[in-house]
């Protein structure tokens, strides 16, 4: 029973993550094919797979030994890479994985379930994030917040003067 739509785990956050998973699947598929040719009667011992791939397989109830499922997974990921919505998030410092998982969870629950992120660094923003969707830019940084407060700050400076 194959799932109709691929569900992404929270460990796959960025486009790089999904491309790594795709590469891993390609290697695995190649490995399975070789093993099948080399010793068709013996039981295939699967190599060690990444956490992201394991989560993906677990979430979608897929079996790597099933070549059809692997093919479906590969095709789904390739489609996802082409069609999945991507947003770019800029942080002031390197974000940790837990934070990214929480953010991508919010995005997949509220925006699109197949959404992927690209991560950038913008130390000048101080704190918060900047978000760039296909056509818009959202400055949710502390710097922007302070810039919005400049009139109030100028007013305070004038009062002091």
């Amino acid at each position: 029973m194959e799932p109709k739509k691929l569900i992404l785990p929270l460990s796959i956050v960025t486009t790089t993550d999904i491309e790594l998973v795709l590469n891993e699947i390609n290697d695995l598929k190649e490995y399975l094919l070789q093993m099948k040719i080399k010793s068709p009667d013996t039981e295939i011992k699967l190599p060690h797979t990444s956490k992201s791939l394991n989560n993906l397989l677990e979430l979608n109830n897929l079996d790597l030994t099933n070549i059809n499922q692997v093919d479906w997974l590969k095709k789904s990921i390739e489609t996802l890479i082409i069609k999945a919505p991507i947003v770019h998030i800029g942080f002031s410092v390197e974000p940790n994985l837990l934070l990214l998982e929480k953010l991508v969870d919010w995005f997949r629950h509220n925006i699109d379930s197949s959404l992927l992120l690209t991560i950038g660094l913008q130390p000048i923003i101080g704190a918060g994030i900047t978000l760039r969707t296909p056509n818009k830019f959202f400055d949710l940084s502390l710097k922007n917040h302070f810039n919005n407060l400049i009139p109030d700050l100028v007013k305070l400076i004038k009062e002091v003067n």
Binding site: A127, P134, L153
Partner: protein, 208 residues
Amino acid sequence: MSNWLQISLFVVVDLLGLAVVLVVVLKSQKNIKKRGSSTNQLSEQAIKENVARIFNDAFREELRNRGRLHFEKIISENAMFLQQDLQLTTSQLNESLKNEVTKNLQTEFKKYEQSLEDARQLAVSAIEKTNQAIDKEREVLSNEIQKQIDLEKKQVLDNFEQHLASIVNHYVLMAIGNQIDLNDQLQFIVADLEKNKEAIKEDVNHGA
């Protein structure tokens, strides 16, 4: 004029003297005639001789000399009177001319002074008007410059305050930005995302 009267009087007196002499002669001739016919006998030649004897050349010369002397005396006196009168007249004429010239000059000077005064008044009036216009222009210019200075001062002050605010912001960002942990920021980030959720969704789903 009195000198001329005197000269005329003297001439009249001389003529009267000559007339008296002629009357005496004529009377003597009349007397001779009155003596009758006897006297008639006296020829005209005798009368002529008497006349000629009385009015001989010497007498005539004497009369001529006396007349000449008298005439010269009169001429001399009259010349003197004439000279005095001429001097007096000249003096009066000079005085009159002097007075007239002085009067004319004074009149002309008054007119000239009046013209100068009018010109001065005109010049003063023009200068006052010019000064008023200059003062007015200077006041307008001064106000304009003051306005520009105030505006520029305000702009400089606003720029300074704006820059000061930017500096304060930058300083605060640099001071605390790196000190805030991303995990601590998560709830604020999610809150901001919630605020922009619809816009993000709209752009992600329909914007591409």
